[in-house]
Symmetry: C2
Subunit: 549 residues, 2 copies
């Protein structure tokens, strides 16, 4: 038998009827057409419908085009989770431009670097961050962006720094603007800078295809039904809110905006708006669990909460369940559009104890439905480590939910993609069921007397101590052992503990060499997305890793 | 402001880490890895897990490759909904080959035509259809395929016509076979012949990209959660079971096989296996509704039933709800991978009467989430008709869920894609809410005294008559009016009616010119997928349209 001679290709090429570049902009167009009257975005007293949101996004795109913005121009946003931030996720790429959401907690130097590096032409600014931007602009070396202030009647204070207000800018645009999707689904849609604890931040470039597929894959990962009510506890500046702006548009859900992560406000919105889904870092859930007004799990149907951003302590996963949040654990990095793996639940887990469920569910798991692969490999040999729960390697991703690469950084791009896989820099094992279980960032591992200690494992024990609110463990230089674990602890309100008590507690639950040799009490520095900033803690203990980490 | 000079493309090309051709084969690989022990396929006494199904599919692919099958070779299947048919949906494309599922109710001449036209190299045959195949093979003009018999212990009778039995063939394959996905997501995955009432059937070619996207879009259309239990009431030979073999793999659900659509068997499997989802043509649901042992809607949680294949009568949509089937109405054709539009529910419909819900829900609706567009256009001007519920035009699709084209038929392909849209040949209006509402196949419309009569509208009235089980209305030549409606009616068991009664009933509900002028009682000829074969009825009444239709 021989292969057919091209009959399945000849005359069967792509054409306008059967091929359209994948783009999440299609989701908004469809939902505005199918459900124009359903609620789209809610922010304090403001409520929009999908018809209105689409018209506003088209106005934004049109106004940008009239301002001279076109393909691959960068539009930056220094905004909290407000309607304009949501609209930017559609209006900016509708103009052919690339959305660069800025981490609102960064300092003026970092902002200036990003505006220069990305070459932002336009910058949307919230009054709360006007002073940061006012300081950042003079630090820029290249041409400055055209600045648009986004007023918010629900916010008091702050200032203006721009040439025009957002609503006035929108009026210069056409609500019937005929936009074009990307000419190629590989075209850039967003630019997201990594937190950059090692040198300058890197600009991660997303394409329309990946944004489309990750937004869709979110639905499969958490089994989200049509018309979810989604609470914006996760910053939209963080991996484009893990692509949920596009997911919620696809599902014709409701976006409940949230300027600030605050327990009382969140519980109130959950009850008032009937929130069904939310996302966040472990610290967000930890705050809710420990809030004095946390509801009982039996108060109503659970909220589905996606958690990612760091290895979540077991106490957080179990604790969330107790306050009525059903945790779905996902894992990823900026380079893979936020989460691109999920700790897929096995039906038999339902019969297990809450602690056992938490232990199983805290793992990084398996690929997203629409991601090709996640695994753990030896980065030297590029061989998968055995699924023995012990052999450590580096977590690697491969598939369509992986960035285009780093902007203007071919060296870092080539390193990240060496051997045909994206290298995360996270160290992990493969459990016997094939699930990936993170052990540490490669720079967070502690090597004591030649033995590897997973800081995550030690933190897990600390989190179980009744007085501990937050814990971070880093390597402290030691003349005898090379490194020893040092614990930083934030105590719960009103709770107390001594260094001795903490160390004794750890000794009961950990091998001797893994037990922290020092305990430091006080507030732990965090990134704006709630990650504990271990590189600062390492600096405090004089760790060698502190210089590059 | 000027556009950036390519910084978002240079050095950011596709590579092995960030680009993998979309293929539904990825779903099986992922699910077999994540849920190897969960049930995959159930057929009578046989139960497979996902690990087993994946190994069997790899064996099949490997055995095919060892037989000399390679890229773009056609493997045909003359099989009912049994495990081998499910496995063929993965094993065949894993070998790089193209799956050509044959309609098992076709006659030997039609089968011979398809085997010749597609150039099938291998043919899988079920004993029930061995005699048809035995007659078809000598009718072929080209080289004959290698025939594999697929025995079924649960089926009595039939025969063998092949060189080897399927299980023996599988043993020649490697369960660890390392398969490669398509080198291009535009590569062919399946070949499906249209029913071909006009001349020779046309071979519709599907690509991996479209199969992947439609399989995913099915999930969004019906809000299917993880691990559905799916009953195979829809033939897998029909548009690859509307791509549900791939959908169920993506969701790690259970495939409940079904050789024959039979009410008692279906009700029994729904109860025993805990069926959650099914698909079918209106005639399947109609049979269930009218079965003497139909359950009460209150018997348990409803089964989600996707319905497509013809404009479903209101009585079927409303009736299904009464027996505990929650109908989701989708619409499409072979050329768009089965359904590619959905009658998306509006939340406010829930408060309406069952009849009103049925009226709203029977429309063809709006695009699938991952389809770009469906609309109604004047095929001459290619302008969208106004959304007035009255102006008739042709339903057109555009997007990624549209075929590559017709095999070895560039003329038909060009016609189908004229003006950058796929032309369905179905006539419809756009309702004021933008939903597409089918009126007729263009060849089914009746023109009486210059007025258009929608056969669907007349049939809808007939279906409401208490004695009517099935109804089909066609044009009958008339010396005065040109054409007049003629009704063909199948009565319910034990029911009776006269021509006079039927005509009087119609007069109460229809304009005079739309009322059938003749009524014929008796069994109505159907296609294997349950479509009423109007071209045969037209022949009986001597309609001019009968020759080409």
């Amino acid at each position: 038998m021989t292969a057919s001679a091209g009959v399945f290709d000849k005359g069967l090429e792509r054409n306008a009827a059967n091929f359209v570049p994948l783009s999440p902009l299609s989701f908004l167009k469809r939902t505005a057409s199918v459900h124009p009257g359903l609620p789209s975005v809610v922010h304090e007293g403001r409520r929009f419908t999908w018809g209105e949101t689409y018209a506003r996004c088209r106005r934004l795109a049109s106004a940008l085009v009239r301002s001279g913005i076109g393909k691959n121009d960068v539009v930056a946003a220094m905004l909290p989770n407000i309607p304009a931030m949501y609209e930017a996720h559609f209006g900016v790429p509708m103009a052919g431009a690339v959305l660069n959401t800025l981490n609102t907690r960064l300092d003026p130097e970092a902002i200036a670097f990003m505006l220069d590096h990305g070459g932002a032409r336009v910058l949307l600014v919230d009054p709360e961050f006007a002073s940061t931007v006012a300081k950042a602009l003079p630090l820029m070396q290249g041409p400055k962006p055209y600045v648009i202030d986004v007023d918010d009647a629900a916010f008091e204070g702050g200032g203006r720094v721009g040439a025009v207000e957002y609503e006035a800018f929108l009026t210069t645009g056409d609500p019937e603007f005929v936009w074009e999707g990307p000419s190629d689904e590989w075209d850039a849609i967003a630019l997201n800078y990594t937190s950059g604890t090692t040198g300058n931040p890197k600009g991660v470039v997303y394409h329309h295809r990946g944004a489309y597929l990750n937004a869709t894959s979110n639905v499969l990962a958490a089994g989200i039904p049509p018309h979810p009510v989604y609470l914006w506890t996760l910053p939209m500046f963080h991996c484009n809110g893990w692509c949920f702006p596009w997911t919620i548009a696809a599902l014709a859900g409701v976006n409940i905006c949230l300027r600030r992560v605050e327990a009382t406000k969140i519980f109130s919105l959950i009850a008032m708006e009937g929130v069904t889904h939310m996302c966040g870092a472990p610290i967000v859930y930890n705050m809710l669990i420990n809030a004095p007004d946390a509801p009982d799990a039996r108060a109503g149907r659970p909220v589905i909460g996606l958690i990612a951003g760091a290895a979540p302590p077991m106490a957080v996963i179990a604790g969330a369940e107790k306050i009525g949040i059903d945790i779905h654990h996902v894992y990823g990095l900026t380079e893979v559009y936020g989460p691109a793996s999920v700790c897929a639940r096995q039906p038999e887990w339902a019969g297990k104890s809450i602690d056992e469920r938490a232990r199983l569910n805290r793992r990084q798991g398996v690929p997203y439905h629409l991601q090709e692969a996640v695994t753990v490999m030896d980065p030297d040999t590029m061989q998968e480590v055995p699924a023995d729960g012990e052999t450590m390697g580096e977590i690697m991703f491969r598939g369509n939910i992986v960035m285009k690469g780093y902007l203007k950084n071919p060296k870092a791009t080539a390193e990240a993609f060496a051997g045909g896989w994206y290298h995360t820099g996270d160290l992990a094992v493969r459990d016997p069921d094939g699930y990936v279980m993170i052990k540490d960032r490669s720079k967070d591992i502690i090597i004591s007397g030649g033995e590897n200690i997973s800081s995550v494992e030690v933190e897990d024990v600390l989190f179980k101590h009744p007085a501990v609110l937050l814990a971070a463990v880093v390597a402290k230089p030691d003349p005898k052992w090379g490194e020893v674990p040092c614990a930083f602890i934030e105590l719960k309100d009103g709770a107390s503990a001594t260094e001795r008590e903490i160390i004794d507690y750890c000794k009961q639950h950990l091998a001797g060499f893994k037990t922290p040799k020092a305990v430091v009490f006080g507030e732990i520095p965090k990134t704006s997305t709630g990650k504990l900033q271990k590189f600062i803690l390492r600096q405090r203990v004089g760790s060698a890793g502190a210089i590059t980490a």
